[in-house]
């Protein structure tokens, strides 16, 4: 039996997701206000409804998301569990990984985080929040295991 992934994402990821959600909800509420202002019948219920649903989203989703997120890298697989409603366990054989990139944005910099992207011929698998040294170490561990000749 394959062991369950145990590595969590750092707590800063929760802050990043929380503030991303706050901004997204604020934009939606603003949009709802504009729409409701132009269609009088929607005032005040539409912006209020969006605000309440948005507040619930902000309060719940980032926390659940962080609690679910786990990853594991052993000598043969990158194993990731994530998802809020639909929990998804994705397993990528390390020999299938073609290249790895560590990415940072101005937004992730504010939280001291980077993201790691592992690319296979079929697409990419991401770990959205890691501290820089942790991401570098993970990248190096994956690259060190890519010595097996690939018969792609």
């Amino acid at each position: 039996m394959r062991p369950e992934p145990t590595e969590p994402l750092p707590p800063e990821t929760l802050r990043m997701w929380f503030w991303s959600a706050v901004i997204a909800v604020a934009v939606l509420v603003a949009g709802a206000l504009v729409l409701a202002a132009s269609v009088g019948a929607l005032m005040p219920w539409l912006p209020l409804g969006v605000a309440v649903a948005g507040a619930a989203y902000v309060a719940l989703v980032p926390r659940v998301r962080l609690r679910r997120w786990r990853w594991r890298l052993d000598d043969e697989e990158l194993d990731i569990v994530h998802g809020v409603w639909r929990v998804q366990r994705t397993i990528v054989p390390v020999t299938r990984i073609q290249h790895v990139s560590v990415q940072r944005t101005g937004w992730s910099d504010r939280f001291g985080l980077v993201s790691l992207h592992a690319y296979t011929a079929a697409g990419e698998t991401d770990i959205p929040g890691l501290r820089r040294p942790q991401a570098d170490e993970l990248r190096d561990r994956i690259l060190a295991q890519l010595r097996t000749p690939d018969d792609l």
């Binding site: 039996m1 366990r89 397993i91 054989p93 299938r96 073609q98 011929a121």
Partner: protein, 464 residues
């Protein structure tokens, strides 16, 4: 392996082929414009501009031909092109997935071929396309790219006239049919104002019978276009394997030949469409990294095969994908309602519309569509299943078509086990396997233990 360091030009027919291709595209619009503006002075200006455009285009095509060279050296194919900013593409021979050739009517006139070098993970723009090379040069390049000339085949499967007609009748090339209709619409829209005149036409339709007749006419037209497309695309279809190379040839007007090492093929999908399934027929499609972005026609291994013979045909053409007969592990009985619930609800919602709009007999549509939804769900439930047979994983699902993916375990790029809280409560899970082309095989609502066992069998350690 042949090495040829001297840069070579394409055959000079490339100038004409390239220019005629762009001119033909232009010509359609010009003819329509000329018809619309016939008799006016504008037509002369139009024709003069067109002639000037064609001359300039030919000069440009000549410059482009002069600037384009290719050569094989240092274990790589080099392709240099571009007039103002020359660019060299380099494809290591080890990364060449397949070499396709196309012999369209235009190229046949000049005795040349178009040769396309497929590379793993490359987009269309990144592929190397040599638009005109002689047959001899194509053979030399194939050898240089590690794809030897055809030897007597070890296995060959042909599609006869009966098979071709049945394939075109049962597997409509919907995309080709739709684009044909769109092209005809576009043409008419330029000659007459379809929106304006069409409204008049629609207002002329009074009875339900007239509307049904018009809709039936449109559907029949689309089906005939799609039938013709099926015949043109798959005429003379043959798939053969000689040694380690698979060769597929097809096409009436444009003869296309694909050759690729069988070792590059990750898997095969057996597709039983809505029309073919009840007749016990299917088509076979290749899953390989190089053809991931191509449409289904390009990926066709065989456009029509009897379903019960599909595995045997695959074993003959691609021995590495031989799978011993055996049952799949399907979804448990308790999953049946999960398969059926959504299509029943969808059928009921859609079926309620005529009832709300027309009342009375309109409500009869609701139970009919809900029953159709239930049948759809039961079909999906029965089709779902997974199996590990030696080095092969089999994943089957049914949506519109029933698709059975046979894939080499070692070639899977990733797999996933997924569940919602409701599925978790019922000890159910979905399984998804992904191949190099980006194609997926999914099996929904399996027993959780079955899903976990499949995941365990895909562990690299289990493959050793």
């Amino acid at each position: 392996m042949t090495s040829d360091a001297a840069p070579r030009h394409l055959h000079k027919a490339a100038i004409v082929v390239d220019e005629l291709r762009s001119s033909l595209k232009l010509l359609g619009s010009i003819v329509v414009l000329a018809v619309v503006n016939s008799g006016s002075g504008l037509m002369l200006v139009l024709l003069a501009t067109t002639a000037a455009g064609i001359v300039a285009g030919t000069l440009f095509a000549h410059r482009r031909w002069k600037a384009t060279t290719y050569w094989v050296d240092d274990g790589a194919l080099h392709y240099r092109s571009g007039i103002f900013t020359p660019d060299t593409k380099l494809v290591p021979l080890a990364r060449v997935q397949s070499v396709d050739t196309t012999n369209a009517v235009l190229q046949r006139l000049f005795g040349v071929l178009e040769l396309r070098v497929q590379v793993a993970g490359a987009s269309d723009e990144e592929e190397i396309v040599l638009s005109a090379v002689t047959y001899e040069e194509a053979a030399r390049l194939r050898r240089a790219l590690g794809q030897p000339e055809p030897a007597p085949p070890d296995a060959i499967v042909r599609l006869g006239v009966r098979g071709l007609l049945l394939s075109a009748l049962t597997g409509p090339q919907i995309a080709a049919g739709m684009s044909g209709i769109a092209a005809v619409y576009g043409l008419f829209d330029r000659v007459i104002n379809v929106q304006k005149d069409g409204e008049g036409l629609l207002q002329g339709l009074h009875t339900t019978g007239e509307i049904v007749l018009v809709v039936a006419g449109l559907l029949t037209g689309g089906y005939l276009v799609s039938f013709a497309a099926g015949v043109v695309l798959f005429a003379g279809f043959e798939a053969e394997r000689d040694g380690a190379i698979l060769r597929v040839r097809r096409g009436l007007l444009s003869r296309r030949a694909l050759s690729m090492p069988v070792a590059r093929i990750d898997g095969v999908v057996i597709v039983e469409g809505l029309l073919r399934g009840p007749l016990g027929l299917a088509s076979l499609q290749i899953e390989s990294v190089s053809h991931g972005r191509e449409d289904d026609v390009v990926k066709t291994l065989l456009p029509l095969v009897r379903r019960r013979e599909a595995e045997a045909v695959i074993a003959r053409l691609l021995p590495a994908l031989t799978v011993a007969p055996g049952p799949l592990q399907g979804a448990p009985r308790r999953a049946l309602r999960r398969f059926a619930l959504r299509p029943i609800l969808a059928g009921a919602v859609v079926g309620a519309a005529p009832g709300i709009a027309l009342g009375g007999p309109g409500w009869l549509v609701l139970p009919a569509l809900a029953a159709a939804g239930a049948a759809y769900g039961v079909r999906a439930y029965r089709a779902t299943g997974v199996r590990v047979a030696g080095d092969i994983v089999v994943v089957r699902e049914a949506r519109r078509a029933r698709r059975t993916l046979l894939v080499r375990r070692r070639r899977l790029q990733e797999h996933a086990v997924e569940h919602t809280p409701l599925q978790a409560r019922a000890q159910l899970a979905d399984v998804r396997v992904t191949v190099g082309s980006g194609g997926e095989g999914r099996a929904r609502h399996l027993d959780r233990a079955t899903a976990d066992a499949l995941s365990g069998a895909l562990r690299p350690r289990a493959l050793a």
